[in-house]
Symmetry: C2
Subunit: 242 residues, 2 copies
DNA sequence: CGGAGAATTGAATTTTATCAACTGATGTGG
DNA sequence: CCACATCAGTTGATAAAATTCAATTCTCCG
């Protein structure tokens, strides 16, 4: 175990709630080690019943569901601080897959320890429910966008959501976010074809709203982009880090 | 308080997990009363911070998100046994609204008591996380369908999902489910126009797959419908009842 | 330098939305 | 009991949006 929770660099970010010494101790006891994952490697697979859960320390990943026709729906973009595998822990098995997009460093937990956590620390247990509820509202926002909005609004929403997640994870410098995800990933998240996504991106760029290029994302005109998006976007708030 | 939890008719259904006497006692202490709601009335509103949470005893409702352009995305169909308002309890406020579609009878809880539940009963706390995770995977399934499938597959999925929920709630007699939701509601759930939903329903009916008519739903050919749906549909499993 | 994956562009085609009109059931007041 | 209003559902014609297909260009690595 390389990094103890108390000195985890993520905890220093304003995004994450601070823990009491007791909570920190309980959490630290859970940590089983660290895991490095190469870019492109699967972390959890739909239908599997992984004995391991993870918190992302470094790198980015994709959550997605595969369909029988070969398509896939991207459910969300995974950033440092995100907890992976709660579903596998709570339900019988994962309902979606997670794959690394960049090299990653993961903090590893044992599924079996979760039950003990519910007994030992009500506040940490509550945090797990919070995380599940948070993911639920992210998905609801995505569904509302994909179900009811046209391509421009969808792409605008996708870009703002990506920027927000990157900011939360402390990855943005000078308004520029590193963006390892490809247009194809974005298309699969928005329910659009790659071609149409590309054309819409070009149009947003031409209008001076945002640029996705060279593995980086820049928002040029946030107010106008936000006006394009038809849903009130939830800004990330401080959140628990498991 | 009319019905005590121990004699709640919902608990008799095979769908719901049975509780230990201790768990039942803890749960019963939470119940604050019952509430009748007329058809069409709002139960919880997006942005509100309701002090009340509910378990549905009778009747059906819709979860949905409203967009700025006046459209709405239906996030899910609410049936007896469903828990409403977990989001308001865990996050600061509701991210979606819930409106009664039929007259309803609700079991009422106080938001503040939830925190105590996490201290008093780890297993019941775990059940709440389970519920949040369940809703998450429902939404993921919906997103995958709306994002990646054509109209026929979407409608087929919607009908099967409705039938599954009705069966789970013990509402189906002779393969026929009462269905108070309108085609318009289904359309808003699937991200299709009412007209196109109607035409697709007609086509499924003509092909002998399913009939939605006179406020009832009948599945004629489940295997073929399931083949139409491109996702492996999760069948409802036994679940906790709060 | 060469090659593979990603991004971009321009049609042609398909799917879905929109518009508009009509049917059928239900309910109300005169 | 009938005229009238209302609302959900149905249908056909037309318009708009997005997909698919087919190249071509660009970028990054080995």
């Amino acid at each position: 175990m390389q990094i103890p929770c108390r000195t985890c660099p993520l905890r220093a970010l304003p995004t994450f709630q601070s823990l009491s010494p007791e909570e920190l101790a309980v959490t630290e006891k859970l940590k089983r080690g660290e895991l490095r994952v190469e870019a492109g490697m699967p972390i959890l697979s739909e239908g599997s019943n992984s004995p391991q859960l993870f918190t992302v320390l470094e790198g980015q990943a994709l959550r997605f569901k595969s369909l029988e026709n070969g398509e896939r729906q991207v459910l969300g973009f995974v950033f440092p601080g995100d907890f992976i595998g709660l579903q596998a822990a709570v339900m019988a098995e994962m309902e979606h897959s997670v794959t690394a997009v960049t090299p990653m460093l993961l903090c590893v937990f044992d599924r079996g320890d979760l039950v003990r956590l519910y007994q030992d620390s009500p506040t940490r247990a509550f945090d797990l429910t919070w995380i599940a509820a948070e993911e639920e509202s992210m998905l609801a926002e995505a569904l509302a966008t994909v179900g009811q909005q046209g391509a421009r609004a969808r792409v605008a929403w996708g870009l703002l959501r990506l920027m927000d997640r990157a900011e939360t994870a402390g990855l943005v410098r000078d308004g520029v976010a590193p963006m390892p995800f490809r247009q194809h990933d974005l298309a699969d998240a928005l329910g659009l074809s790659v071609v149409h996504t590309n054309k819409t991106l070009a149009s947003l760029r031409a209008d001076g709203l945002a640029t996705l290029r060279d593995r980086t994302l820049t928002i040029h005109d946030r107010p106008r982009l936000e006006r394009l998006v038809g849903t009130t976007m939830r800004r990330a708030r401080t959140r628990p880090l498991i």
